[in-house]
């Protein structure tokens, strides 16, 4: 019988190395997958991981895709460090996108910088409101935030679907489920001429910096880490558990909402019922691969963005289904969790006592 036996002391070095091991294993798994599908694995590897970033435009697309991932992941990581498990960034991203779009459509054909500023605020508040629901229910009724935040994702998806089929539908859009295209005044300025990379990337980098300071320098961040490591110690010290639930969920919701805003005011330029590209869920993987560390989130977001781009390329050049990206994401998470288990436990073969 195979048994897992807790190691007396988990290796500190290995706990940092395990994300890298997971990436390597994911690559090997990918090569095997390509061969199993009858593709040349080396060719597959090139198409998936090298072609997407072989030119400057590709790099800009990588940064563009990484932007919402960074925003969502840093917000989630703040809560995850205190064991506040917000699984609903996807829904909060949609809520932020809806709120920002409402502002853009309200000011349709108007000019002025105030529109974008209001959209940023509306996006963040939209996401926070969506995240406030699980926070309130947890504090008031001790509901499980994992379930509530996850279920609210589906509510948000239906809400945006209803809106783009109804109140927000483009009146001249031949009944397509999408809004008008936003005015230039409601679009984020482009950072890199000739690409789609916009100011949202600046938001993301700033969010990572602020997140870093919050987590490692501020007392509130320290309190959240204490709560994550030892709940009783946090209570002993008098840290408010309610406050941590609020901070954890609102930071996740606010950042996800900002990511939603940056999608509708960025590459999309309108709202449709496909606001999100599963960024809210992928960001959970990003946060864990990054060990909830802002620097790690930067690199893990780039990796995850590459999986998105690689998946698109694989559809185009290898005639593989679009779900290939999800397969890679899933492998990454599985290998990460697997290596984490092996860091803390060792496998022992035990004779079953007669």
């Amino acid at each position: 019988m195979l048994r897992l036996e807790r190691r007396p002391e988990a290796s500190q070095m290995m706990s940092y190395a395990s994300p890298l091991i997971a990436v390597v294993l994911m690559l090997i798994g990918g090569l095997l997958l390509f061969s199993a599908l009858g593709k040349d694995p080396i060719e597959g590897f090139k198409v998936f991981f090298l072609y997407p970033i072989s030119d400057a435009y590709g790099v800009s697309e990588l940064l563009l895709k990484a932007t919402p991932l960074m925003l969502c992941a840093i917000g989630l990581a703040v809560g995850f460090r205190a064991n506040v498990w917000n699984i609903g960034a996807e829904g909060q991203l949609i809520a932020g996108g809806i709120a920002a779009s409402a502002v853009a459509l309200y000011f349709y054909e108007a000019q002025g910088a105030h529109i974008l500023i209001l959209m940023v605020i509306a996006g963040a508040i939209g996401g926070m409101l969506w995240a406030a629901i699980p926070a309130f229910l947890k504090i008031r009724f001790n509901t499980n935030e994992i379930l509530v935040s996850l279920m609210l994702v589906y509510v948000a998806q239906l809400l945006v679907s209803w809106l783009v089929h109804g109140p927000m539908m483009d009146p001249d859009g031949f009944n397509f489920p999408q809004s008008r295209l936003f005015d230039d005044s409601a679009l984020l300025p482009i950072l890199w001429e000739g690409t789609r990379l916009n100011l949202a990337f600046g938001f993301a980098i700033s969010a990572l910096l602020v997140g870093y300071i919050f987590m490692f320098r501020s007392f509130a961040g320290f309190q959240m880490q204490v709560a994550g490591y030892a709940k009783d110690a946090a209570r002993y010290a008098g840290f408010s558990a309610k406050r941590m639930i609020w901070i954890g969920l609102l930071s996740g919701g606010g950042m996800a909402g900002l990511a939603g805003m940056s999608e509708v005011a960025g590459p999309m330029g309108q709202i449709t019922d496909h606001v999100s590209n599963n960024y809210g869920f992928a960001a959970i993987i990003v946060a864990f691969v990054a060990r909830l560390n802002p620097i790690g989130i930067f690199f893990a977001s780039l990796l995850m963005a590459l999986l998105y781009l690689g998946g698109e390329q694989a559809q185009q050049y290898l005639a593989l289904p679009s779900s290939i990206s999800n397969v890679f994401q899933g492998m990454l998470l599985m290998f990460l969790l697997g290596s984490d288990v092996l860091i803390n436990y060792r496998v022992r073969w035990k004779e079953v006592a007669a």
């Binding site: 110690a233 002993y236 010290a237 408010s240």
Partner: protein, 518 residues
């Protein structure tokens, strides 16, 4: 222990040249030990002397690097605890090995071979617990049990298996004096029936009373053998620590100052269905005195401590007045601002965050002492505070960056105690100040508490060790079934009276001679 020709037959366990190395330390170095049939054999030593490692090897938890073990004359290699149990070796651990989410019967059933009938087992548990004076309800969930009650479960679990050798690692820490005597009767009875007992304890008077022979370990080596009956506790202590034991100096009570803690009719139904409700507790504690609260664990100590610390606030603000401020509804940080310090019973996970460094653990409660600016942590100040705490309180550790869980229990306790004392509290509440701490460190901690009281702090100590309370307290009270007895000056009472009170009988009429029923 008469020498006899058939003596070889009487040898139950022989260890020869046992050596165990860990990467950083030699836990056991060429240790030899012989236990006879029916012998109660004490293993003495400070924390870290290698006692627990040696016991774990006998019980099959770890394997020696060198040396041999003979069981009833036959060489054996104990592969695992199940093997040890099948040989007839039982062990009561110092750190409990119970599953919190299961109840008492289920925990006991797990240690037994086969698939025992739970109803029958529960009957057996009740029987054993009555016979040995170890009351425990077989149906209760372990997580709802206090530390003392968990220990009883461990002892009962071993006794159910009719062991030939019983290893007891500090078994009496949480028993009333009466229950200790009962347990000793049981152990003597077991020994008379032929069961051998390896008895680890730091309570030298108990060893003297109970054990036939003693082996002393220091730094992993056997440093001496003795017959406890021919020694004094002091002479055994110096054998154990290799030097003379410091005695706490307890000066005359200082002048009493202002009231620092006042409990007025503190009542609180327990949140835990198996907990103890606090019922109308009244007490007053003044600057410059130490009030000791004795009691068998599970009689409301945890609930009282949670209410005092603010981890579970009470509805009536006036029920708890800290330094003149009605504080019943305040959270712990608020109470700290009003001048309270608190050292909880659980060090890892409550008093300290296991994975965090000592610096970060200093910040846990010291953050109100100028260690923050604009909500940001001033790490240099925190580290300086942690270093001061380490040096003032002789905390043996790798440095302030090392994690709390890298320290031994005694050293972590010194750190937590140091942290709370350095914050200069007006009122300090301490639970089990020297639980599982070796005698040297325990004497140090007690001395620091007395010094602090001499500086004018009001100190409340809740402990299950009566000797300790009698050593440091000015006044003493007993908690039983959630009620608090009247307090008595130390000079006006004695261990027997307090021991009697621990069963809740302070209201019982006692004739004026002070003798209840002899």
């Amino acid at each position: 222990m008469t020498s006899d020709a058939a003596e070889v037959q009487a040898l139950r366990l022989e260890l020869g040249g046992i050596t165990k190395r860990y990467p950083s330390v030699i836990a056991n170095d060429d240790v030899s030990l012989t236990v006879r049939r029916g012998e109660i054999h004490a293993v003495l030593g400070e924390n870290g002397a290698g006692k627990s490692t040696l016991m774990k090897m006998i019980y099959g938890v770890t394997k020696p690097d060198a040396g041999e073990m003979k069981w009833e004359g036959q060489p054996v290699q104990v592969d695992n605890p199940a093997h040890a149990r099948s040989l007839g070796i039982g062990m009561v651990f110092q750190h409990f090995s119970l599953f919190e989410t299961l109840n008492v019967v289920e925990n006991v059933a797990l240690a037994l071979p086969g698939n025992p009938d739970l109803g029958e087992l529960s009957r057996q548990i009740t029987e054993v617990s009555n016979r040995y004076g170890l009351p425990v309800d077989p149906g209760r969930l372990v997580h709802a049990l206090s530390v003392g009650e968990r220990q009883r479960v461990e002892i009962i679990r071993c006794l159910l298996q009719n062991p030939k050798l019983l290893i007891m690692d500090e078994p009496t820490s949480v028993l009333t004096p009466q229950a200790v005597r009962k347990l000793f009767d049981t152990l003597r009875q077991l020994a008379d029936e032929g069961c051998s007992i390896l008895y680890i304890s730091h309570k030298l008077d108990e060893i003297q009373e109970l054990c036939h022979v003693a082996t002393v370990l220091r730094d992993g080596k056997v440093t001496g053998h003795c017959i406890p009956a021919e020694e004094t506790p002091r002479s055994m202590a110096s054998l154990m620590i290799g030097k003379e034991l410091p005695v706490p100096e307890h000066g005359a009570p200082a002048d009493l100052g202002e009231v620092r803690l006042q409990l007025q009719g503190l009542s609180k139904p327990s949140d835990d269905p198996f907990g103890t409700d606090l019922q109308g507790i009244d007490v007053e504690l003044r600057s410059g005195e130490i009030l000791g609260i004795a009691g068998v664990s599970g009689n409301g100590q945890q609930e009282l401590l949670y209410a005092l610390s603010g981890e579970v606030p009470v509805d009536d603000a006036d029920a708890i007045v800290i330094c003149g401020v009605p504080s019943g509804r305040d959270m712990p940080d608020r109470r700290r601002l009003n001048g309270m310090g608190f050292v909880p019973e659980e060090r890892l996970g409550r008093g300290a965050v296991p994975r965090m460094s000592l610096t970060e653990n200093a910040l846990l409660t010291a953050h109100q002492a100028g260690m923050l600016r604009y909500g940001m942590i001033r790490f240099e100040r925190v580290a300086a505070f942690a270093r001061q705490c380490i040096s003032d309180f002789n905390v043996k550790c790798g440095g302030e960056d090392h994690a709390a869980n890298s320290l031994s229990g005694g050293n972590l306790q010194k750190f937590i105690m140091g942290r709370e004392i350095l914050l200069a509290p007006k009122l300090l509440v301490v639970a089990q100040p020297t639980w599982g701490v070796d005698v040297g460190a325990a004497a140090f901690i007690r001395q620091r508490l007395i010094d602090l009281r001499d500086e004018g702090t009001a100190i409340l100590v809740i402990s299950e060790e009566l000797e300790e309370l009698f050593e440091i307290s000015d006044r003493i009270a007993v908690i039983a079934e959630g009620r608090l007895s009247p307090t008595k000056k130390l000079a006006d009472t004695n261990i027997d009276e307090i021991g009697l009170w621990m069963s809740g009988m302070w209201d019982a009429p006692v004739d004026n001679g002070g003798q209840a029923h002899a």
